[in-house]
């Protein structure tokens, strides 16, 4: 008897346990599982987004490094060009200064020559009429004699003959 009670007791206990477990499983599936599932999905989604973002950041980092390297090279090239241009410009400037100095000296010399020539011209203009007048008078006296006239005419005839033969 006692054994039967015990067995019945055990059976009831098992049934009770089963019912409680079923109720617990039902409650778990009904109320907790969907939230947990949703939270897991959200967690997975967030994780995937984070991984993608991380990859994108890595790609951006690579791009930035490449750009930086290229710009550094370009900057070095540009600096080299700037240095060369500066050198050439400096040389040209020096050459120009030398040429300018030469030109200035030439102009100065020409100006001095012009002034000298002008003074000579002025002097000649002042003196020449007197010289010509004096020469004219002296030549008149010199050629007053018929011998001089004849000599000059002979010279003229000879000159014309020479010109004609040439």
């Amino acid at each position: 008897m006692a054994d039967v009670e015990f067995i019945i007791h055990i059976i009831f206990r098992l049934v009770n346990f089963t019912v409680i477990m079923g109720a617990g499983w039902y409650a778990f599936n009904k109320y907790l599982y969907p939230d947990l599932k949703a939270q897991m999905h959200a967690q997975e989604h967030e994780e995937t987004a984070l991984v993608n973002w991380y990859r994108k950041l890595l790609q951006d980092q690579d791009d930035l490094d490449t750009t930086l390297s290229r710009e550094r090279t370009e900057q070095q090239d540009l600096r080299g060009k700037m240095d060369r241009w500066s050198n050439v410009r400096h040389q040209e400037h020096e050459l120009m200064m030398v040429q300018e100095e030469k030109r200035r000296k030439v102009i100065l010399m020409r100006h001095k020559k012009q002034i000298l020539h002008m003074h000579e011209q002025q002097l000649a203009q002042e003196i020449l009429p007197h010289v010509v007048d004096r020469a004219r008078k002296q030549l008149h006296e010199q050629f007053a004699a018929s011998v001089a006239q004849e000599s000059y005419m002979s010279y003229m005839v000879e000159t014309i003959k020479k010109m004609d033969t040439q």
């Binding site: 008149h140 006239q149 005419m153 005839v157």
Partner: protein, 175 residues
Amino acid sequence: MMLAQKYAHAFINVFGSVISYDEVRYGGQAASYLYHHRRALFLLKISTLDDEVKRKGLRELCQKFKLPAAFETLIDLLLHDGRAYLFAAVLDVLVLTYRKVHAIAEFHVTSASVLKPDTRVFLEKFMNGKTTSTNFYTYDLNQSLIAGVRMQSDTLLWEYSIDKKLRALARMHQF
């Protein structure tokens, strides 16, 4: 002057082959005579003076300078047109036109001393060689040349003299 040229050209066209250069030169001398005796030219300008009086005066002038009868035709024409006062100008232009038409050049040769005949011949030969025209020469003295010769026509001038050298010297330093 334009009118005188027209009369001279017309005269050359009609009598150009009849009259000689000497006669044309006489015409030039007659023109010079009229220019030196301005009173005669003035009388030709007076319109109230009878044409017969002008004709008579001009014919006497023609006889004086041994001008041929062709010039009397010119006088008649000028009197008919009432332009007798142009006679001297027409004669002047006539000389130039005749020279141009017949390629004649009149050279006025001046020298500081009297040129010897052989020098004259040499100079004429020299100038004839330089030009293609028929040249006539008249000689004169010009002491301002100092020494040398100057030959000048209507269009040509050739000079070899000390005066020319002095002139060139004086011009040398002119601005």
